[in-house]
């Protein structure tokens, strides 16, 4: 199945460093090429998306960062204030809540509150309309935190729905949860590298998202895929021909033999990669492989190359 381009809200997560920001950028470009207006939202203190798009750091005000792509940085404290401001109509109460250092310190540690402020704000962008009632953005992509924290963030609205008594907070969380669990509207994009640990973690994440939370998976993305040089049969034969100890490059006979050693190490990697890619491909309806770019992916041309792979 091809990538579901019609979702309104995409939540990109995966193990740290696997390429979530890169995939977010590539996806945004792929969607924009299809004529959609895309907002990419990030909350990291040290976001790298602006570097990737080659623009000034993202701010709380969304700005055009590429044709059809807007970028915004969600500031937790600002989001909390804003949310509070909308809900607490009384100025005095509002000030008391948000200008009190005591309260701030406490709120910072209440489990899930920060996560909800961020997720709630990004989700709100996906519902935002202009004067004519038209959606401001066709797709909002959240470059979300890494696995553990990302899962936590998605769990918060459910915990609120389950735990918090009826009130404004609960009402909003119910609305967000309704959208997030709707497979027509939303989806999680799970990013992984074709290595043992990232793959295992991605599979566990998919399991937790679907069984525990009932959230739709938009796609599994295998990033950093090494282009295979050898067929499976050649890999086996290379490993058989080359003496063991090949993990250590160093003194080998001729340079031809050094080449064979190198090829054997490559064969091991390709074998393992094939195994992990098969595991990833098996868990999701939509599955996309992105190649490992030899010169890194921290640039607009890099992200554009990857964008083509989304079809």
């Amino acid at each position: 199945m091809t990538f579901p381009f019609d979702r309104r809200f995409l939540f990109v997560t995966g193990k740290g460093g696997v390429g979530k920001s890169t995939v977010t950028a590539a996806l945004a470009l792929a969607l924009a090429r299809r004529g959609r207006r895309v907002l990419v939202a990030t909350s990291g203190a040290r976001e790298r998306l602006s570097t990737l798009f080659g623009v000034a750091p993202f701010t709380a005000e969304s700005r055009l960062v590429a044709a059809g792509v807007w970028g915004v940085r969600i500031d937790v404290d600002a989001a909390m204030r804003e949310y509070g401001g909308m809900m607490l109509k009384s100025r005095t109460v509002y000030d008391a809540v948000f200008d009190s250092r005591l309260v701030q310190g406490f709120l910072a540690g209440v489990p899930g509150l920060h996560e909800w402020a961020i997720l709630g704000k990004v989700w709100y962008h996906s519902t935002e309309t202009d004067g004519a009632g038209r959606h401001r953005f066709d797709t909002v992509i959240h470059d979300a935190p890494a696995t553990g924290h990302g899962l936590e963030m998605l769990r918060v609205p459910k915990v609120i729905v389950d735990l918090v008594p009826p009130g404004i907070l609960r009402r909003d969380a119910e609305r967000a949860w309704h959208d997030l669990t709707d497979p027509i509207r939303s989806g999680v994009v799970v990013v992984a590298l074709p290595e043992e640990l990232p793959t295992t973690e991605a599979l566990e994440l998919v399991e937790a998202l679907t069984s525990e939370l009932g959230l739709p998976i938009a796609a599994v993305v295998a990033n950093g895929v090494l282009e295979p040089l050898f067929t499976p049969a050649e890999r086996q034969a290379l490993l058989a021909a080359v003496p063991s100890g090949l993990a250590q490059p160093g003194d080998v006979g001729s340079s031809g033999e050094a080449g064979l050693m190198s090829a054997a190490r490559r064969a091991i990697r390709e074998e393992l990669q094939a195994e992990h890619l098969a595991r990833l491909a098996a868990v999701a309806a939509a599955y996309v492989e992105l190649p490992l770019l030899p010169h890194g992916a921290m640039s607009l041309p890099g992200a554009s190359t990857l964008a083509e792979r989304f079809g």
């Binding site: 193990k15 740290g16 460093g17 696997v18 990291g44 790298r48 509070g84 607490l88 109460v93 008391a96 809540v97 009190s100 005591l102 309260v103 310190g105 406490f106 910072a108 540690g109 209440v110 489990p111 899930g112 890494a146 553990g148 924290h149 389950d162 735990l163 008594p165 009130g167 404004i168 907070l169 609960r170 290595e195 043992e196 050898f230 067929t231 049969a233 050649e234 034969a237 290379l238 021909a241 090949l246 993990a247 250590q248 490059p249 080998v252 006979g253 001729s254 340079s255 031809g256 033999e257 050094a258 080449g259 064979l260 050693m261 190198s262 090829a263 190490r265 490559r266 393992l272 030899p294």
Partner: protein, 388 residues
């Protein structure tokens, strides 16, 4: 590179803490350091967090084990490793550690059940910001004086920000031990006690605001949860001070693990600077998964000759438009060489900034990237050989 000096660290430290950003190899390096220490005759405890399943199994750990478990000498000898000392491993599971603490410290069965059955606790105990890091420190405090071990190697949780383990316990403590939490606790958990100072009046107003958001009763539950915890651990602040003192002990060494990727190097340098700001030591940089050069990048005819000599594989992809097998083998060597060069280039930055005049960190050790994962004792020993 001065590997001998990492040996000194292994000989002389009481605690070695491995930190670095996500996925760089903290758990792997921690286990290798522990093995290296045990080989040198020390009785080592490796406190590991979320090891890959296969690595855990290789060390003899079951999935849910949280007890300290000695790696049986038979396992070590089977892997060709001779250990003079002793290697014990223990998996840290923050949720379990938290439950254990409560079971251990609760003054009565009623109190224990009240906490464990608190709905907020059930959902959020392991998610309270900083819990995992706090629990790692808690475990460390409990073990640091244990006479059964000479050396404790501590792994850190997979955070995207390597500094979290330093900051998070403080954040948790300031939440639980904040005047606000105490005030909420007094007001809600013990409703008879009322206080009428200005702070309390402001907070009361604020709290009514928060309660308007959360609906009735929720804040009380959170407060009840926090109050029970705070009472239980008898002043988190005192413990925070103990942790902070432990972190500054002379025999406490910091090993900063990084990959040769520029982003990871930037992160580890930033981390080293922050450690310096905290007045903490930076003892060793370990650069893990460094690509090695193939030794030579052969021509296609040299590859052909070697294939003929070794009886190499037949060309399975042969076809007019595809490169021949020999061409592809030559390309594998060229690509491996390019990776090695790029890593060397990236490491220059680390050397200039970290080992230069400012000398952020005196020792740098490189660990090669192996073609397969490191998930057995022999592979750990391979790394141990490199570092000491």
């Amino acid at each position: 590179m001065e590997p001998r000096r990492l040996c000194h660290v292994l000989d002389q430290s009481r605690v070695i803490l491995c930190a670095g950003c996500g996925g760089v190899g903290k758990t792997t390096i921690a286990a290798s350091l522990a093995l290296a220490g045990a080989r040198k005759g020390r009785r080592v405890l490796c406190l590991t967090i979320d090891p890959a399943r296969r690595l855990a199994n290789a060390l003899g750990l079951e999935r849910m084990d949280t007890e300290a478990k000695e790696v049986e000498p038979a396992r070590l000898t089977a892997a060709g490793v001779r250990v003079e000392g002793r290697l014990t491993v223990m998996m840290l599971d923050p949720k379990r550690t938290f439950d254990d603490l409560i079971v251990r410290h609760a003054s009565s069965a009623a109190m224990r059940d009240r906490i464990l059955q608190n709905r907020v606790y059930a959902h959020l105990s392991s998610r309270l910001a900083g819990t995992q890091e706090y629990m790692a420190m808690e475990k460390l405090l409990a073990l640091v004086h244990d006479p059964g071990y000479d050396l404790i190697v501590l792994d850190t949780p997979p955070t995207s920000n390597a500094l979290d383990f330093l900051d998070a316990p403080g954040r948790l403590i300031s939440t639980l031990d904040s005047p606000m939490a105490r005030w909420i606790t007094d007001t809600f958990a013990a409703p008879r006690k009322s206080r009428f100072d200005v702070v309390a009046r402001g907070a009361a107003l604020a709290l009514r605001g928060v309660a308007r958001l959360t609906g009735a009763g929720f804040i009380e539950q959170v407060a009840g949860f926090l109050a029970e915890l705070n009472g239980l651990f008898g002043g988190f602040k005192r413990r925070a001070e103990a942790v902070s003192a432990a972190l500054r002990r002379d025999d406490f060494a910091y090993v900063l693990v990084t990959s040769p990727e520029p982003a990871s190097i930037r992160e580890v340098l930033y981390f080293a600077e922050r450690l310096a700001e905290h007045g903490l030591r930076r003892d060793v940089f370990i650069v893990n998964r460094v690509h090695q050069a193939p030794g030579a990048t052969p021509t296609v005819s040299e590859v052909d000759a070697a294939l003929a000599r070794l009886g190499g594989p037949a060309d399975h992809a042969a076809g007019a438009s595809c490169p021949t097998l020999a061409e592809r083998i030559a390309r594998a060597a060229i690509e491996e060489d390019a990776l090695a060069r790029r890593d060397r280039e990236n490491l220059r930055v680390l050397d200039e900034l970290a080992l230069g005049p400012g000398e952020l960190c005196p020792i740098r050790v490189l660990v090669p990237a192996f073609p397969a994962d490191v998930h057995d004792i022999a592979a750990l020993a391979g790394i141990a050989d490199r570092i000491c």
